[in-house]
Symmetry: C2
Subunit: 343 residues, 2 copies
Amino acid sequence: MQEITKIALDAMGGDNAPCEVVKAAVKATQNRDDIFIYLVGQEDVVNEELAKYTEDKSRIQVVDAPEVIEMAEPPVMAIRKKKNSSIVVGMNLVKKKEADAFVSAGSSGAILVGGQLIVGRIKGVERPPLAPLLPTERGVSLLIDCGANVDARASHLVQFAKMGSIYMENVLGVEKPKVAIVNIGAEEEKGNALVKETYPLLKACKDINFVGSIEARDIPKGEADVIVCEAFTGNVILKLYEGLASTLIGVIKKGLMSTLISKIGAAMALPALKGTLKAFDASEYGGAPLLGLNGLVVKAHGNSTAKELTNAIYQCVSFKNKDINGKIKEHITEVTPSSEDEA
Amino acid sequence: MQEITKIALDAMGGDNAPCEVVKAAVKATQNRDDIFIYLVGQEDVVNEELAKYTEDKSRIQVVDAPEVIEMAEPPVMAIRKKKNSSIVVGMNLVKKKEADAFVSAGSSGAILVGGQLIVGRIKGVERPPLAPLLPTERGVSLLIDCGANVDARASHLVQFAKMGSIYMENVLGVEKPKVAIVNIGAEEEKGNALVKETYPLLKACKDINFVGSIEARDIPKGEADVIVCEAFTGNVILKLYEGLASTLIGVIKKGLMSTLISKIGAAMALPALKGTLKAFDASEYGGAPLLGLNGLVVKAHGNSTAKELTNAIYQCVSFKNKDINGKIKEHITEVTPSSEDEA
């Protein structure tokens, strides 16, 4: 018989909690019988929401977490003080091996801090990267790292490349994923000090398909599957992607609505256009994994609906079934004595 | 009588040279009588192109530069070896004060290197930044620095903020331009080591209107007029802007063409849409100035047409008439003994 993947789901996290989260739990357990969900949150609130569904709920268990971490709270403080919050309780389930993964659309900062402080790093992993998927002309690319720890070292970036490559190959099914480092030109001698130091290390890596530098303009074209960069740069890329896409779509809508003729034309063109823009939407593929932990933590987008959360849940199942963490342990061999404080 | 601005124009630079460059020279001198143009390039080629115009050419002078720097040439070598190239000859006109400005759509690398090696920095300017304009929902913002010298220091960024502010106020006419530093969060304590060091220095600056951090997602909204960052980050922002805009417009076109109904709709909507997208086009505003030099050097986009080049020429006139360099000298007071090799 197939193995069950147990997932702790943050019922209080995100703009649409708890209703979309509860809906995702019901949907995922209905669709697949290899999933068990711990719905972590304020018991009465979650139960009230759950009561709306008549479906079988035998593979859903509510776990009480009376406290809630707000989006604006300083993450380290929140994780240390709110021991009964959904994020801390959910992550402790992963730590105690009662759950394989934790999925949350809540505070990014708290998820990043909790992942490191509660779930903990795989031995040998120097820094766990947050790796969202970016939509491209050809599908999606993994942008690694977009986490909270900036000013990375070259050895971190090499580990990001390996972990990202394993993830894309096994969870997204990309054969020999092309790994590139974000740079300001294609030539090997270009770049800042960090990129210049990292480039030859990546080139020497036997277990990844390193294709060299990628300029930011080629990221949307999908020219690499794993895009390696330090978290400050990754954050700029991720947020500019979101911001520019939303601004451009707004500008285009305004243009389409500016005359009567164009309004009629827009009404005719809209259904086809929506279909294409939908393909350019990373949320279809689930959330951003925080890699290199003793378990899996997935950060879903703050405005996730049941659909995106369900996809994030399925992602956890692939992650477990493909033994991503086993593969990471195998490839992360260079244990560097780390002196930094990661929190 | 009004003063004449003398501009050296690289007749050999860019995808559309020499024809669009020569056209721009004729157009600019026809439209305004306060402009004198040196057309720098291979004499016979330029003269042949110029012969196509019947307009008055008394304020255009061809200056022979038999050599051409190709886009792919290593910049430092090209500038040192090709003394008779249009870039070296044109920049020497600025150095000798025979021209006020040099405009080129040629090799960015050669223009950046030449600007520093030939034209030279204003005393006190530690590093001359390249500052392109980015289109936003509200107009344009100046992104400073996007040059070739990465790994900047905090003192460089402070100078970028001052120079960018002077430029936006005087050349673009933005009153009290809002200056922001690119960061991964809005809070003062966020950021990498460079941003954390720079933030309080900018906050203490009396002569700029510092508004704090800007996240990349807010850049397209036009929330700041001067966007300060180190050149690696600036390069990523600039190139992702170009790449993502072109990809999204491609995806949208594909969507509009996918069904017969949507094709008819698209044909009706297109004229209005084009008008709006045109407003979202930074090339309307001219080229990217390389600031802090003893004169002005403007890098126009490689695919510039006569229209963009004419705008770059007008930009040089404003630059001179508003005495931008005089104002820069006034505000760049902190002369730091610099040990770095800038080339």
